[in-house]
């Protein structure tokens, strides 16, 4: 099938050497490729958004009315909570407790998603020019989303919680049991390294533990939907439904510590 005379062999070997060289040095090509594609991808993103606005006009109108009602309700709730916060601050001052530093956020739009079934991520329209660095936590108003992994001048790649390469130190809000939350590429996350007698049950809320600098303590990750034993029987795992719908994100906030 392969005609391997001397000339062909040299050509094949040269091509193979070039391919191997490119495969090991492709990391250098990432930044220029992502930067080059930023403008057309952003344009398509805007067009898609506008087109969606026209097509789903009626649905959006109904949603707007519902959201306005919710905003009114939440405004009342925020007012009540402000009172509690101020009272809390006064009491903390009285007890001389160290005040928790407030976090700063950089808002960003999702403009694309990586072309791969074996990882889970986003490409956002903010990069180093906006003060974003590698390893920063990414959230939405609903909870934790992931972490920045590659930053160019004007775009960044975000690895989502559902990516199996990402691990987040987390704890069960009720029992303070610690574990490691990882992605599975599916719709649920998995919390690993739970001891055999861990106090965890379906319905428990999982939050970030704050052990890693990327993720501030207390960020909502999700809710436990199932608990099982590892094959060895020495430890338990828990399946977690993420608080954020990771496959429908359009805007995110990058946590600047």
């Amino acid at each position: 099938m392969f005609n391997l005379n001397k000339k062909n062999l040299i050509v094949y070997l040269s091509v193979a050497a070039l391919i191997v060289f490119l495969s090991f040095s492709f990391y250098l090509l990432r930044t220029p490729i992502t930067s080059t594609l930023e403008a057309p991808v952003s344009l398509i993103s805007v067009l898609r958004q506008e087109l969606g606005g026209f097509i789903f006009y009626h649905r959006n109108l109904i949603q707007l009315r519902a959201l306005n009602r919710e905003v009114d309700f939440l405004k009342n709730k925020i007012n009540a909570l402000n009172e509690v916060t101020m009272e809390n601050a006064r009491l903390k001052n009285l007890l001389s407790l160290k005040q928790k530093s407030t976090l700063k956020y950089i808002p960003a739009k999702v403009i694309a998603r990586p072309a791969d079934n074996w990882s889970s991520g986003l490409i956002i329209d903010k990069g180093a020019y906006s003060g974003i660095k590698n390893g920063m936590g990414v959230v939405t108003y609903l909870g934790l989303v992931g972490r920045t992994v590659e930053v160019t001048n004007s775009t960044s790649k975000v690895m989502l919680l559902s990516d199996p390469s990402l691990g987040v130190s987390a704890l069960v809000q009720r029992s303070r049991q610690e574990g490691l939350v990882c992605g599975t590429l599916g719709s649920n996350l998995i919390m690993k390294y739970l001891p055999e007698d861990a106090d965890i049950k379906p319905g428990d809320i999982i939050v970030s533990s704050g052990l890693n600098d990327s993720y501030p303590k207390g960020l909502l990750i999700g809710t436990v939907v199932d608990v099982g034993s590892e094959f060895s029987g020495l430890s338990q795992y828990a399946l977690i439904k993420p608080a954020v719908k990771l496959y429908n994100i359009e805007e995110v906030l990058i946590v600047v510590q």
Partner: protein
């Protein structure tokens, strides 16, 4: 098909893959448009062009992905040479044979990519692994006639 048309097709496929394809995913699995591009290049272009296109597709897929190793550059080039050599030996002129052929290639490609991900430390449950491998390959194969139809007008230019 002219080289300029091929490059425009490639650029459109890259944009579609990045921006719109996510919404067409079945069970969160997307078809591999880059692999389809490599397959079409290998079917209708000389070896040097098909390898060049395979390397280009591999660079883009790896650069726009989250993996840490340029495996797609190697695999796409390999598939390109293999398709070219097999096309010399047997005829794959009808769409059904082509679909079967691309299904097998996509299957092997997905299995290798999945095993590399597992080898690099990712925990992927067996069910999700099989879903991505089988459904991703099937989806890619089913999309081939559509992509061929969209590009066929220019193939014999």
């Amino acid at each position: 098909m002219k080289l300029s048309t091929l490059l425009v097709t490639f650029f459109i496929l890259v944009l579609v893959e990045l921006t719109c394809l996510h919404y067409l995913g079945v069970f969160q699995v997307k078809p591999d448009l880059f692999l389809l591009f490599v397959f079409i290049s290998a079917l209708f272009f000389p070896l040097r062009w098909s390898i060049s296109m395979a390397v280009l597709a591999g660079i883009f897929k790896d650069a726009l992905g989250m993996g840490s190793f340029g495996i797609n550059i190697v695999l796409f080039s390999l598939w390109s040479i293999l398709i070219k050599e097999i096309c010399h030996e047997i005829s794959i002129d009808d769409n059904l044979t082509r679909m079967l052929f691309i299904f097998v290639i996509a299957l092997v490609h997905n299995i290798i990519n999945g095993l590399v991900a597992v080898y690099l430390g990712s925990f992927i449950p067996l069910g999700i692994f099989l879903r991505i491998v089988l459904l991703g390959s099937l989806y890619t194969a089913l999309l081939l006639p559509l992509i061929l139809k969209l590009t066929k007008a220019n193939i014999y230019d």
